[in-house]
């Protein structure tokens, strides 16, 4: 249990309000008081009297842009998340349970994938989802894959024991249930860099959608299970890599800071795939790339901004001959994981993303590149341009 008397990080706030200036939510939805008021300012009052807690804190998307802007190192997003954990009213919402329990929803939908994808595309079904679940009918739903990445892997992955080193791969829910080709691309890229790949014995959702919907206990259970698996994997390999920026940020930062799950012993070994790929490159591994004559626009997802690691993906992309890279100004796309899938947030989500969508259209890029899976869904639906993880672009450019 956290000791509130020791947790005084919010006291470093000087009330400069720079965080609110960079908050995409308070810009789009003035009903949200913004990170300063909801975070450190509100915390001072909530510590005195819990009735100062206010339900508008649920408008926070946990994008972390406030923390990136803060000159005083206040963990504003964490203060808000912890206040929600402590004070928010719990009421069961079937929609939130479906959206946030990605392992349950994912395995169910994958096993029925063609039917689920078909039904989710039908108007009456979408009407039902909007009416009874509060998921906007116009929002594009992610397609589920008939075969998960894990099942494909265990049904005939190429041999991985002929490489100089082996790394563990945390595929995440999206690669597993929705986009197995991202998992396959990850393996191909790592192989091309001289690293063999093994999966964790078992893997659960990192927990980020659970936290977003208030299921902190379930998130903590997942975190503890993943911690045990990661520790087991690190007995055999030096690194556990993941291609999703949000999973990486969550496991490295949210486990200790929000869920109270200690990862100090291995935090640095849980890494973003492109960052480790860059490391392998610096060690002299040189994958061969064939020319890819397209223009891509790089979008810095919010959690990539927090990790601060965009440069690795960009440097790798620069190795592909013929690839033209446009750097989009870093701004939130609005989806914030499951946030934009909830009817009450969907308008805010689209408003937040407007600037990014028009920047993407103006760039005339044929493809957007981003490490975040929900940015992909939002960008493809709202800007009308396909979006892929840099790992996929790099794998596509591999020669042979």
């Amino acid at each position: 249990m956290r000791n509130p008397l020791l947790d005084t990080n919010f006291e470093a706030c000087t009330k400069c309000t720079i965080c609110t200036e960079y908050c995409p939510v308070s810009e789009a939805n003035p009903a949200f008081a913004g990170p300063k008021q909801s975070g450190p300012d509100g915390e001072r009052q909530r510590l005195r009297d819990a009735s100062f807690y206010n339900e508008t804190l649920k408008h926070c998307t946990n994008c972390k842009r406030c923390e990136v802007a803060c000159p005083s190192d206040v963990r504003i997003g964490d203060v808000i998340a912890l206040a929600r954990e402590k004070h928010a009213k719990r009421s069961f919402s079937p929609r939130d349970a479906i959206l946030s329990h990605t392992d349950f929803t994912g395995s169910l939908c994958s096993s029925l994938a063609p039917a689920v994808n078909f039904v989710c595309g039908l108007k009456p079904a979408r009407y039902f989802m909007e009416k009874f679940l509060g998921i906007p009918a116009w929002r594009t739903f992610p397609k589920y894959s008939w075969q998960t990445f894990r099942s494909r892997w265990f049904n005939g992955a190429p041999p991985q024991d002929e490489y100089d080193e082996t790394v563990s791969f945390f595929h995440g829910c999206f690669a597993n249930y929705n986009n197995p080709s991202l998992g396959i691309d990850s393996v191909r890229l790592l192989n091309a860099l001289g690293a063999g790949v093994r999966l964790l014995e078992e893997e659960r959702c990192c927990g980020v959608p659970l936290m977003a919907s208030g299921f902190f206990d379930d998130a903590k259970k997942n975190a503890l299970a993943n911690k045990a698996e990661i520790e087991r994997a690190l007995e055999k390999t030096d690194k556990v890599l993941c291609a999703s920026s949000t999973c990486v940020m969550t496991v490295r930062d949210e486990y200790p800071d929000v869920l109270g799950v200690d990862n100090a012993a291995w935090r640095d070994k849980f890494d973003l795939l492109t960052r480790h790929a860059y490391r392998l490159l610096e060690r002299g591994k040189t994958p061969r790339f064939k020319p890819l004559e397209i223009t891509v626009a790089y979008h810095t997802a919010c959690h990539m901004e927090k990790l601060g690691w965009s440069a690795y993906s960009i440097e790798l992309l620069k190795l592909v001959p013929g690839l033209k890279i446009i750097l989009l100004p870093s701004q939130c796309c609005g989806i914030a994981g499951t946030y934009g899938f909830k009817r009450e947030n969907s308008e805010t989500a689209q408003k937040i993303g407007e600037g990014l969508f028009s920047d993407i259209r103006d760039s005339k890029a044929e493809l957007v590149v981003s490490e975040c899976e929900t940015c992909k869904m939002q960008i493809e639906m709202s800007a009308g341009v396909p979006c892929e993880n840099p790992v996929t672009v790099l794998a596509r450019a591999l020669a042979g």
Binding site: T17, I18, P30, K36, E67, R275, R279, E305, W309, I314
Partner: protein, 428 residues
């Protein structure tokens, strides 16, 4: 990761250095510990308004010799008059090139900007849309007989009464008018967040322009100019031009208490220019350590290690340290002394005994304001008495001057940043 140049610090000096280096064709990374003090600034940039003996400066160009005589350790004195003025001119040209619409020049001498406290403060460059007043024969010339100050009702970071005391002191008549919009009511639900930037997010929206224009037009009746607190034109700078056309009178902005929109707008623009030039920004990162090697004639920085990048070192052929003073955490102090935070560089002057760091009179100049690193004429630095061959300093991390008392913080930042970038580009 390897770059031609590594700039540490994302304030005015860091951005100016990084943009100049990227313009000179250098691959450049900017490591920034969070958003900077530009967000608290008026958006005007001062060069020099007071000499150390307290005498006011009207023409900074003419006062540099007197400054050098009185303060030989001042960065302008160390760099020399010629280089200082050349870099100031370069900054004026760079601002025009970067699309920052400023007025003022060293050639024209200091002009005055109206502060939210109703004071006219001498300065060098101001945004075209802020309230400024020329100085003729040593006197402020207020160009309008009667001005309206149009503020947003219940906006607490700006007092029209206090601001109006400035024009009144120069003999102008003032009227105070308030306006509001239905769309501002939602914001008012959180009174503590009824702040300049939040208000601008609403006022900048095209759908509110007609009502805003109407309020300005009403306020402009019977006066020569309309002054507004800077609560608009964050993302739509031409909004003021449109209001001006509609009111057929000058419409000008006065900076507010923090967050200051004019300063924040400057920060955003500089960041975008750097990225457009292909610069790499490492936001919210901090240098935790470095490797250096001794050379025959000094020290050379080999690489730096940061919080976000861990085992992957960031290395450059050249480095610029622009981490600021105590507030920016470029300088740190404890009971035993003060030091430069990243490299422990030599200071311009030893801090001396702790009891001499501050003056008991809060409003008196504070000796600790002059703390900072020792530099040479091209803003090179020193470590344990030896020159650091590839590390320049820029901005408030430099010692030997008092930016508040002398009114020279922005000038020193720009001159040192551009001089450092120039020296790096020339391989000095």
């Amino acid at each position: 990761m390897r770059f031609d140049a590594v700039v540490i610090g994302g304030g005015l000096a860091g951005h100016a250095a990084a943009i100049s280096l990227s313009e000179a064709g250098k691959s450049c990374v900017l490591i920034s510990a969070g958003q900077s003090a530009m967000h608290f600034s008026s958006g005007s940039m001062d060069f020099l308004h007071t000499l150390p003996d307290g005498s006011p400066v009207l023409f900074p160009e003419k006062s540099l010799d007197a400054l050098t005589a009185a303060a030989p350790a001042h960065p302008y004195s160390v760099a020399g008059k010629e280089r200082t003025l050349a870099m100031a001119l370069r900054a004026e040209k760079a601002f025009a090139r970067w699309g920052l619409r400023t007025e003022g020049s060293l050639a024209a001498g200091n002009h005055l900007r109206l502060s939210p406290m109703g004071k006219f403060i001498p300065t060098w460059l101001s945004f075209e849309d802020s309230v400024t007043v020329p100085v003729k024969d040593g006197k402020a010339v207020f160009p309008w007989k009667k001005v309206a100050i149009l503020s947003v009702r219940d906006f607490l970071d700006f007092s029209p009464e206090i601001a109006a005391s400035g024009p009144r002191a120069l003999g102008a008549e003032t009227v105070i008018v308030f306006f509001t919009l239905p769309a501002l009511e939602t914001l008012r639900a959180n009174p503590s967040e009824f702040r300049s930037i939040n208000i601008a997010r609403i006022l900048d929206k095209p759908e509110h322009k007609p009502r805003l224009a109407e309020a300005v037009r009403e306020a402009a009746k019977g006066v020569d100019a309309v002054f507004m607190p800077a609560v608009l034109c964050l993302n739509r700078e031409n909004l003021l031009d449109e209001l001006k056309t509609r009111a057929r009178k000058p419409v000008k902005l006065i900076s507010t208490m923090t967050p200051s929109l004019l300063g924040a707008r400057l920060a955003r623009k500089l960041s975008r220019i750097f990225l457009k030039n292909g610069g790499v920004l490492m936001p919210k990162d901090e240098v935790l350590g470095f490797e250096a090697r001794e050379t025959a004639d000094g020290v050379e920085i080999a690489n730096v290690r940061t919080r976000n990048h861990g085992d992957i070192a960031i290395s450059g052929k050249d480095y610029v340290l622009a981490t600021g003073s105590f507030f920016g955490r470029g300088l740190v102090s404890d009971r035993n002394g003060a030091r430069e935070a990243v490299f422990d560089l030599d200071l311009a002057e030893p801090p001396g005994p702790r009891e001499n760091w501050s003056s008991p009179d809060f409003f008196a100049p504070q000796p600790s304001s002059t703390f900072g690193v020792r530099v040479d004429a091209s803003f090179g630095t020193y470590m344990k008495g030896k020159p650091v061959k590839n590390l320049k300093a820029a901005g408030l991390v430099i010692g030997g001057f008092d930016p508040v008392r002398e009114g020279c913080g922005a000038g020193v930042s720009l001159v040192s940043a551009l001089a450092a970038a120039d020296a790096i580009a020339k391989g000095e």
